[in-house]
Symmetry: C3
Subunit: 346 residues, 3 copies
Amino acid sequence: MKSLSAAAIAEMVKGTVIGDAAKTCTGVAGVRDAQDNTISFVGSKKYQHQLETTAAGIVLINKDLEKEPLNGRTFVVCDHVDLAFAKVLEFFAPEPVVYAPGIHPAASVDPTAKLGKNVHIGACAVIDRNAEVGDNTVILPGAYIGVEAKVGSDCYIAPNAVVMFRCTLGNKVVLHPGVVIGGDGFGFIPGPQGLVKVPQTGIVEIGNDVEIGANTTIDRARFGKTRIKDNVKIDNQVMVAHNVEIGESSILVAQCGVAGSAELGRGVIIAAQAGVNGHITIGDGAQVAGTSGVVKSLPAGAIAMGTPAEGQREFMTRYTLPKKVEKLQAKINELAAEIEKLKAEK
Amino acid sequence: MKSLSAAAIAEMVKGTVIGDAAKTCTGVAGVRDAQDNTISFVGSKKYQHQLETTAAGIVLINKDLEKEPLNGRTFVVCDHVDLAFAKVLEFFAPEPVVYAPGIHPAASVDPTAKLGKNVHIGACAVIDRNAEVGDNTVILPGAYIGVEAKVGSDCYIAPNAVVMFRCTLGNKVVLHPGVVIGGDGFGFIPGPQGLVKVPQTGIVEIGNDVEIGANTTIDRARFGKTRIKDNVKIDNQVMVAHNVEIGESSILVAQCGVAGSAELGRGVIIAAQAGVNGHITIGDGAQVAGTSGVVKSLPAGAIAMGTPAEGQREFMTRYTLPKKVEKLQAKINELAAEIEKLKAEK
Amino acid sequence: MKSLSAAAIAEMVKGTVIGDAAKTCTGVAGVRDAQDNTISFVGSKKYQHQLETTAAGIVLINKDLEKEPLNGRTFVVCDHVDLAFAKVLEFFAPEPVVYAPGIHPAASVDPTAKLGKNVHIGACAVIDRNAEVGDNTVILPGAYIGVEAKVGSDCYIAPNAVVMFRCTLGNKVVLHPGVVIGGDGFGFIPGPQGLVKVPQTGIVEIGNDVEIGANTTIDRARFGKTRIKDNVKIDNQVMVAHNVEIGESSILVAQCGVAGSAELGRGVIIAAQAGVNGHITIGDGAQVAGTSGVVKSLPAGAIAMGTPAEGQREFMTRYTLPKKVEKLQAKINELAAEIEKLKAEK
């Protein structure tokens, strides 16, 4: 059974022990579930109170939380508790599940498909004609790689994920289960006999080191490309419409949506359930709060919230309006009284 | 052809007939589509007007709606019309679709997987290595049960649902099509070379009698467990993030989302398209209105609405603010006039 | 390599050339990505500025944008630039991907299923017992057609789409990847031993020429039918609950949701991320703005926005309230000053 002493942890994470350096634990747990034999962490002042209540034997804490250990528990003070705890987690992590190279007999690989070295193709996965799969890529059961699609090397395509025809993935791309890359963009024009479909003849192009969460959908371009650039991280159930461009290292959190032809810069963060209108631009490093609806372009570094989205100050002014109106009400009553007085005094 | 008389219905649902007890119908229909030969229902005063317009031959109604039958139609008055009508529906329900025990020759069951008695495994379903499936469980075509995952007995796993490695389901669990259990949680930390993935080494643990709607996603814990407790009912396209805990008999309605490490108590209701922030607590029996965004913890029994979510009174104050401001405007004009008068009178 | 001259384009789209009729391009591109050898378009005054910056060799523009061509570029002026550009796109479109008639040896078609002429059934697609598939329909890998389900002719069922038992699709229906037709409706009643499931014994009935986007879910009726009528177009990740009725040629944009038993008329537009309450009616041609939450019925032609949704005027009054309150504040200060003056003057 694996175990770590406070001293060993301190060495591992370049931290300092407060309390019993010999204290040893055999696992990790959240601060709520922790026992005396488990290691936990508290990362920010906001959760400092949990230091009083947790039963964890060893607690990793951030420098700014440094304090005397309580009820005989031991602290390890770190510069960056998240990264530090990640190391401890790695140490205790269960044996990773490995998918060895090889093609399952129940997989269906078209004879015209090109497979790299050491690929794993699971049962009932389908690689369609002229598709290409790079070295060391893992394609799990029920996943589909479409006609003439290209998947790079060292990719992980989870069960029942779909990559439609001609779309391209870079290297080290992760698609979680149920992801759909390259469904048709949504384009219809009112015609004499009703809605006429606008042909969606483009593709989706995904860069390197991109991770895409379960059941997220990214539509192919009307023409040209829908682009997801390097290092973009997308959560579950996100909707990216046709011809959108997502800049490097941007983050799209769960259930948000980006409408057609919107252009996001680098390092943009769109929080959960937010929406971005079509044909607008979001500048580098801009951040959109959860559930917000962004209707016009945002400059680099902007912070937007609410629907229609506005700056933090405008948002707070709006949010605190009821209080302000109450004060006005009081002031008005006061003035009315003074006027009565003046009238009486005449 | 099945048929029921008003008398028979009254006996079946312990209700009382008003009108022609011998009146007989051969089917059920919604109040709008109903014909003279179909049975329908009206459950609440809100829909009482439909009693005037429906063509239904027999109408089940709640006690509080009791009234003379109209245009020769017959009423059956019940204590609980929903439960009563459910019984009638059951009577007329089409022959249920049965999936007989057996493993389809096109299914792919790893030799190391353990299957219980009387399981049904559909075509192109995949049971991966060391996975376990309990007695009488039905796994339909294209579904995937991952490495070392455990599915209890009497479960129903619909087509193309996915249970990832090591996740566990209790008994009588229903997963509708496209559900994803155990995709990675969404965790990335800014590092020197860009975003660093936080390993997601935990699992999802689902209790007994849980039902999960189509294309809903529940992420595995960063470490430890994401917990869905007994009797929880989740609708379609709901997002439950890593390390969330959903208490017994809670209800999550379509397209809502619960962010990482949030803790919901028992009997909580999160309505459609609402969002719950990470790391907060929702007390037992609390209810969140549709589309609301809950940003801070709620006590037991709380009712929250709006974004950021607040109590019903605060919400209504905010909602009716335009009217209030109009009144202030009028009052101010009035005072201005009086002041003019006072000045003139000097 | 395909190429088109400005003159040829003008003839193709019944437009008029401004500039060099002999100018020839070899492809199409968005106005941002365009080169001198590519054709692009600008459709509305809103994007007129792009005419100054684009490098496109030929630009299709709407009549109302007519102007002198700039820096030697050539314009083709059209009545309807969208339809016109669609024709040009078609000309340059890559060879379409064709799925030839035939049943893949790795497909699984139940012996009792009825297949029409010239159907394509992909690898690991499953056609369950007594299901019917019409002529010329394409069913791609991993898709599932359930027990006694009916799919019309000339349909396109994308990979991993699911049609559950007894549901019916008309002709020329398109289901994109991951679509789920006929998951159970969400209905539970509090009973003595907790939540009791309301049996969902109805079906989903989809008309002709309906297109449904990736990972959208449409639930089967509690009883009777959930109805999607002819020519309805639904985007990705839309949720349509049980017993909903969507009128002809209505449009549901990405991530919106329609709750149980709501009835939408013809030509209704529900924009992205909006929600429609259950048991209400949306009149013909009504439009709901993105992210709005509609809580009560809307008449034909209505425009609704905000949550709870209201008319445009009410919405703007609410939206501009902070400014109005500021003005009141100023006015009040003014009156206060006058009162002081009056008091001093006594």
